[in-house]
């Protein structure tokens, strides 16, 4: 039914966009809760003022954490909250009645929020970048190839995060509460993705452990492509592994969703 999807997708994206616009106050608060990189930035700049740390000087930290702020804002999906709520309230039955797979509408909701996230986070990050430290701006990649690869890494990171978020949401049909499981995911994300601090500062063994998980590909890879001047082969290898995680996470999502859907009992509805 590709024809039907063609017509429905733009409409669903518009709905998602209007939704983000209607709840702009809430939206802004959610964005403000993701400001941990700014705290870490202030902290590591204070540390770097006394000399560079693990190859990072003050402007490298500035570029890293501001890029991290944007990546986190742009490649994020809160479908778990939506799915969890709709399962509990029975509203999922409305989605199931539509002639389009519910995952498409969740995907549209997540995608439609991105322009607004970008409109707020990018100017803030750019202003901070140049006002805190004029030299930090020089760390940003400028050549079109690197920027294109950054775009790819961001898109793939979004895909993986959406899949994980929705999979855990669907597991809500088996578990008492999927939010507990989501918290565990967030816990690992914080530590192993490079969100809290650059993975390069970790001891070597922990870096190796992190590299075996999908987490660095959700945050660290896009940031490093943008601000760390990686060699082309390193970038391509990272992107290839990221693609592998994307395929895996989408497959798991489809599998889990298909099985879990049968357990849906439409409470309340």
């Amino acid at each position: 039914m590709p024809g039907r999807l063609d017509r429905a997708l733009p409409a669903m994206l518009r709905v998602g966009w209007k939704d983000a616009l209607a709840y702009r106050g809430e939206f802004l608060v959610w964005m403000l809760t993701m400001t941990l990189p700014l705290v870490m930035l202030a902290l590591f700049r204070a540390v770097a003022a006394e000399g560079s740390l693990g190859g990072f000087d003050a402007s490298a930290f500035t570029a890293y954490f501001l890029a991290g702020l944007c990546v986190r804002q742009l490649a994020s999906s809160w479908s778990i909250w939506e799915i969890n709520r709709e399962i509990r309230e029975g509203a999922l039955s409305m989605r199931l009645l539509r002639p389009i797979h519910p995952l498409w509408s969740y995907l549209c909701d997540s995608l439609a929020a991105i322009p607004m996230r970008a409109a707020i986070s990018l100017p803030v990050a750019l202003v901070l970048l140049y006002s805190i430290d004029g030299t930090a701006g020089e760390k940003l990649a400028r050549d079109p190839v690197t920027l294109a690869l950054f775009g790819v890494s961001l898109a793939q990171a979004f895909g993986i995060i959406f899949s994980i978020s929705s999979t855990i949401g669907a597991l809500g049909l088996y578990l008492e509460s999927a939010l507990g499981l989501w918290n565990i995911y967030v816990a690992f994300f914080m530590l192993l993705s490079g969100y809290l601090l650059p993975l390069a500062l970790f001891p070597a063994w922990l870096q190796r452990v992190a590299a075996l998980t999908p987490f660095p590909y959700l945050q660290s890879l896009p940031i490093e492509i943008l601000v760390r001047r990686l060699p082309l082969t390193t970038m391509l290898r990272g992107l290839a592994i990221q693609s592998g995680w994307l395929v895996l996470s989408v497959s798991v999502l489809l599998l889990v969703w298909q099985r879990a859907q049968k357990r849906f009992a439409a409470y309340g509805g």
Partner: protein, 261 residues
Amino acid sequence: MSALRTTRMLLRASVMTSMQYRADFFFDLFYAFAELAWTIVPMLVVFGARPSISGWSLDEALLVTAWFTFLKGVLEGLVTPSLVSTIEQLRRGTFDFVLLKPVDAQLYGTIGKLQLPSVTDLVAAVMIAVIALHRLHHHPTASQLVVAALLTLCSLCILYALNVLALCVAFFVARIDNLAYLLAAVFDAARWPASVFRGGMRVFLTFVVPLGVMTTYPPLALLGRLSAKSVGVAVGVAMAALLISRLAWLRSIAAYRSAGG
């Protein structure tokens, strides 16, 4: 003291509610430990490269972590869950029933819900403090302990007042149902000694949200490094915060016009 009795009853009811969901309990327990790791890991990384930062050694900074963990336990265990549920009631209009109860609605709205796993934070906080003091070979004198306890009480008052203020905002913009998480996010900055931060960040943390007073003053008092004047300032700030929050609450409640129905 009816306020004390109400507090006791509310706490007992919320403990019983929070024990209903056992699977969640274990997830939350794990999460509490993970959060501790977020605080400690960057600290170990930084102090692995430097013996001291802005005059703080690792063990002294760990004392700040202890107070941060303690206050965060109180915030996430008691204050945030209550705020979330009260804001939900404001949205749905069921807050009317709270107002009908013969107890102070502010008390009911701010400590009515409890997340038991946050107790692990309190235990962890005590452990970190003991380890840090042991490594510092510092035995606090009785008066240092008393002052630290007094300042901790001040911190709790400020934390509580900030949350009442967040709740007051919810009376006017009830559509924003995630306000409760905002303070938790801002609070993240309190895990490091306040003097580490510079410029705008320091001004923000001292005057707008006095996190520096909340997590840095008590450890300083314990180490005997806080001047009497600073203690006075902390007590004054705490009193003012409580007063302002109570006044704001009274104004907000007067403007409450119910909703939904």
